[in-house]
């Protein structure tokens, strides 16, 4: 809830993803509930028929087909030409979207630190299993607000909301690039969730598994953004990170609460009824997000930022089918 007092960010890969955690999760692999077409040959079954050793189907021969794929046994029995089709194995696309807004820099431990470590862990799993891994950070870039106020011109693409992205990482040796990118992120500014999601959806080449890590405290609403991502056919996982202080507030007294993102204030006198009401509203908010996701076949999970990343990956994500 309150701004993170210990703002020390991980500066090395070991700090981001400790070797122990890496060892524990290295035997996992990313799974998807759907079968997607890949771009490169990989270890994942593809929608396409290909050249693997795994039989898939037969189809009648047409002129021009490769004669080497004709199933001569069937021709012998039925006196008709059938082609023998094999499954194609391609790579899986894993896209990790990290909410990089200022609200993520809250709680003890920081929600953003958890998001960084989770992205690193899942990215590592993806890279190890030769999946294509992409990482995007959404939120307001520092000059977005100035642009909106007319104080400067946008330096990036016309659409705002996407801070940066790193694409087409494949293979374990790209782990350094992944970690460097994650360590270079700094939470600041507003969320601009819808714009960010739109940018991610439009920039996405190909389909696959998408994991969005955010607190989903979006005043404009998270619905449009998630709808846009889902509309592009991703196997979408929404990981909602909340700090322990957000789930059980420990503040008291007469306060003027200031929003980290937009500076909006709310004057409150903390009392037991108010805290009770806050908890009720938070639970209702999470439930509504959960229902929204369930209706659209999006996997939603809420996690406290003090949860160990390996525990979360090994127990919760494995149970929900993201890894195996």
């Amino acid at each position: 809830m309150l701004r993170t007092t210990n703002t020390t960010r991980p500066t090395t890969l070991e700090e981001l993803l400790s070797p122990e955690v890496a060892a524990r999760i290295s035997r996992l692999d990313i799974t998807s509930r759907k079968v997607f077409s890949g771009k490169l040959k990989g270890e994942r079954r593809s929608k396409r028929r290909g050249e693997s050793v795994e039989f898939a189907d037969h189809r009648p021969y047409v002129v021009g087909d490769d004669l080497r794929h004709i199933d001569w046994n069937i021709f012998g029995r039925l006196d008709r030409l059938f082609l023998k089709l094999f499954l194609e194995e391609e790579d899986l696309s894993l896209h990790i979207v990290v909410d990089c807004s200022a609200s993520m820099d809250a709680g003890e431990p920081s929600k953003f630190l958890f998001a960084q470590r989770l992205a690193a862990a899942l990215g590592y799993i993806g890279l190890v299993n030769l999946n294509r891994v992409a990482v995007s950070a959404i939120g307001s870039r520092p000059n977005d607000a100035e642009f909106e106020r007319g104080e400067s011109t946008p330096s990036g693409p016309a659409e705002t909301g996407l801070v940066s992205s790193l694409r087409d990482l494949r293979g374990k040796r790209r782990l350094q690039d992944l970690s460097a990118y994650l360590m270079g992120l700094e939470p600041s500014g507003g969320t601009r969730f819808t714009d960010g999601c739109k940018r991610v959806a439009l920039s996405r080449r190909g389909k696959g598994v998408m994991l969005i890590v955010s607190d989903f405290f979006v005043k404009e609403g998270y619905e449009t953004g998630l709808r846009l991502l889902k509309g592009h056919g991703y196997d979408l996982f929404a990981i909602q990170v909340l700090s322990p202080q957000e789930m059980q507030p420990t503040i008291g007294g007469d306060l003027r609460l200031k929003d980290m993102e937009d500076g909006d204030t709310a004057e409150v006198t903390i009392s037991a009824p108010l805290l009770k009401k806050y908890t009720q509203i938070l639970n209702a908010y999470c439930n509504r997000l959960h229902e929204f996701c369930a209706q659209r076949d999006i996997v939603h999970m809420t996690v406290k930022s003090d949860t160990a990343v390996d525990t979360f990956v090994l127990e919760y994500l494995r149970r929900r089918g993201l890894v195996r």
Partner: protein, 724 residues
């Protein structure tokens, strides 16, 4: 518990509590806290505000603590106090003893400096005044008090008021005197203001009204307390002051007399009294005209503790020990002297006022006596045998003529033998007890007739010093004759009366005589009682001093005995010295009126008090001056222009007469305070007063302390909330 000014607190509460709540909203200081999002908080606030308009006040411990602080302060403003049931009366009378014993330096010690009992009593009175409930803005039923200071005389220093400043000032103005005490007069004065009793036909005095609380602030040495009949509706609280262990040594009597046979021999009798439990030897210095002429150690017995037989004995003090000595002097001229106690080492004397006693003695001289008689052999024979300067035998007509012409002042004493002159009743009418025109018995001679017309002269005692034989003046300067007796015997007499010491009156058998009845409130007392009533009287007021022998001495064997001559000698000396300002007449007790008779025609009369203050006086028609009551011991000097008597001195062309005022009161010198006060209807214990003062404790300081504590708690809670 009662609230002394609850309306004030109620008004303050009506203003302050809403003001605090409003100010709490207006002046609320909020702490800025950054949160990840205000999204959920705003929803929560909106929901709560819709449901509970005063949710800000609910469970707000800081506001709650502030309200508690405010309530405590408002309670303090209401001035609550625990009240005893004895404090139910709205009116309080502070009766403060200022008599001589209250000057004892054994009041509660104040930082090492001992206080007098009067100061301690005044402080107790001030505490009572402070505890009075004051009228509030809307409640005018506060308590009120009045202040009475008393010794032998009672004075109202402040009438009933609820103004504490006036009461405090009245108490502060009370100063000690060297006078004895009379609680009865103080209570009579107080009851005149309480209105607690009213007189009804057939029922007498009946209690009425709400009554008052009488606070007696004294050491309990009140000899007439048993005569004080308090009203049932009044409550009496006795606040005892003084230390029961204090010791006082004092001179309780001093007398200078000249030998009848040799006037040059002067005897000064000094009597001492001590409240110390052990016997003491006390040095006494005797000084004449400023020079110490003799000093002697006098043994004084130790005080005797009261026998512990009854419960009431606890209220009794030990009986003081006595000692005395007669200093013999050979001195023909008159003078002024004093006897002074040198307090023994190791003894702390509580009361300095009785350590010095003054006396005045006249020069050796012989008396001038007139005998108004129709002929009395035994009297004439006895008087001529006495050592008198002049004895003049007059008929009643001759004396009456001298009296009318104002020439009787030449006689020191006039002896009336079975006759009385005609006097102006206007003089008598001014005296109490005159409810009917006085009558003179036919035996008085001169054909005394009953019921004279108003304004007519009657037979009675003329002003001056007289010995009356065989006739009784009518009241008020005499007694009422209610019959006759044929024979009587002497039952009792004042054995230490100067006129009776050697008279042998106890052996006299009386024949025929008048049966007398004393009228109350007249300056007449019986000094010899027979079995049929009083037979010898002493009349003593401001202008008249007489000894009246009611029976005819010639009808007894008394003139044949030596006692008769000794009686005449003693009584003439006793009366004559008083007349001339001699040893007895120049001795006055504090608390009484200074009265002396100057030669007719004296002018520019001036009285110098012991303090040096000068007062101009006017003499009465017979030359008598009066001043009083005398409040301090010491020498009072009267000077005037005009004729001086043989006993007066002359200085700067003015005649001077010195009178000595002494405490000389054994009861006042017995300073041991009494823990209980025995009144006519009840015994009041000083412990009750202690209990009362304990229970009338005001609570506002404790409430303010509690408020301070709650403020500290609030500060602690505030800091804890801020540091979250």
């Amino acid at each position: 518990m009662t609230f002394l000014s609850w309306p004030t607190a109620a008004v303050a509460a009506a203003i302050a509590i809403p003001a605090l709540i409003i100010l709490y909203f207006l002046k609320l200081r909020r702490r800025d806290v950054e949160v990840s999002s205000t999204l959920l908080w705003k929803k929560a606030i909106q929901d709560l505000q819709a449901n509970a308009p005063f949710q800000k006040l609910r469970r707000n411990i800081l506001l709650l603590l502030q309200l508690i602080v405010l309530c405590l302060i408002l309670l303090a403003v209401a001035d609550p106090q625990f009240r005893d049931t004895g404090r139910t009366n709205r009116r309080h009378i502070l009766i403060i003893d200022r008599s001589a014993s209250m000057s004892s330096l054994d009041g509660a010690a104040d930082g090492g400096a001992p206080l007098t009992r009067l100061e301690a009593g005044k402080r107790a009175a001030l505490r009572i005044v402070e505890s009075l409930r004051e009228p509030g803005l809307l409640d005018e039923s506060g308590e009120e008090a009045m202040v009475i200071a008393f010794d032998t005389v009672a004075e109202v220093r402040q009438t009933f008021t609820s103004n504490k400043a006036e009461l405090r000032a009245a108490i502060d103005r009370i100063t000690p005197t060297d006078s004895p005490t009379s609680l009865e007069r103080a209570y009579a004065l107080a009851s005149a203001y309480t209105g607690s009793e009213k007189f009804e036909e057939e029922r007498g005095f009946v209690p009425v009204g709400p009554g008052a609380t009488l606070h007696i602030l004294s050491d309990g040495r009140l000899p007439d307390a048993e005569r004080v009949r308090t009203s049932p509706v009044d409550s009496v609280v006795y606040h005892a002051v003084g230390d029961p262990k204090s010791v006082n040594i004092g001179i309780t009597n001093i007398r200078a007399t000249r030998a009848f046979d040799d006037p040059n021999k002067l005897s000064i009798f000094v009597e001492l009294q001590s409240t110390a439990p052990e016997p003491l030897t006390v040095d006494v210095e005797l000084a004449i005209d400023g020079n110490v002429v003799q000093a002697r150690g006098i043994n004084v017995a130790g005080a005797t503790p009261p026998p512990p037989t009854a419960e009431e004995d606890a209220a009794r003090a030990p009986t003081p020990g006595l000692g005395g000595f007669v200093f013999p002097l050979e001195r023909s001229q008159g003078g002024v002297g004093l006897a002074r106690i040198v307090v023994p080492a190791g003894v702390v004397d509580a009361l300095p006022a009785d350590n010095t006693a003054y006396f005045v003695f006249p020069p050796a001289r012989r008396l001038s006596v007139a005998v108004v008689s129709e002929g009395n052999y035994w009297l004439q024979r006895a008087l001529t045998s006495l050592s008198l300067s002049r004895v003049e035998f007059l008929t009643l007509a001759e004396f009456q003529r001298q009296l009318d012409e104002g020439r009787t002042a030449q006689y020191d004493v006039v002896v009336f033998d079975k006759v009385l002159p005609m006097v102006n009743p206007a003089v008598l009418a001014a005296l109490p007890g005159v409810d009917a025109a006085p009558t003179v018995p036919a035996a008085a001679g001169g054909g005394g007739s009953a019921q004279p017309a108003r304004g007519a002269r009657v037979r009675g005692l003329p002003p001056g010093r007289s010995l009356v034989l065989g006739v009784v003046p009518p009241p008020p300067l005499g007694a009422k004759t209610v019959g006759e007796f044929d024979q009587a015997v002497i039952a009792d007499w004042e054995k230490d009366h100067p006129a009776l010491t050697l008279s042998g009156i106890g052996n006299v058998a009386l024949g025929k005589g008048p049966r007398l009845e004393l009228v109350p409130d007249t300056p007449v007392r019986a000094i010899v009682m027979g079995d049929k009533g009083p037979v010898m009287l002493e009349v003593l007021d401001a202008v008249t001093h007489a000894v009246v022998v009611a029976f005819d001495p010639n009808a007894t064997y008394w003139p044949l005995e030596a006692g008769w001559v000794l009686f005449l000698g003693d009584v003439l000396t006793y009366l004559g010295e008083a007349n001339t300002g001699g040893a007895a007449g120049s001795q006055i007790g504090t608390g009484t009126t200074l009265s002396t008779r100057l030669p007719v025609g004296s002018r520019e009369i001036r009285l110098v008090l012991p303090s040096g203050e000068r007062i101009d006086l006017e003499a009465g028609p017979d030359g008598t001056i009066a001043f009083g009551p005398v409040n301090s011991t010491g020498l009072y000097t009267v000077s005037w222009r005009g004729q001086a008597t043989a006993l007066d001195t002359e200085r700067d062309g003015r005649a001077v007469r010195v009178l000595a005022a002494n405490l000389a009161d054994a009861l006042e010198s017995d300073t041991t305070p009494l823990p209980r006060l025995a009144l006519a209807r009840e015994v009041v214990s000083a412990e009750d007063a202690d209990r009362l003062s304990d229970l009338t404790r005001r609570l506002w300081p404790y409430l303010l302390l509690a408020a301070l504590g709650v403020i500290m708690l609030e500060w602690f809670v505030y800091n804890r909330k801020v540091s979250l």
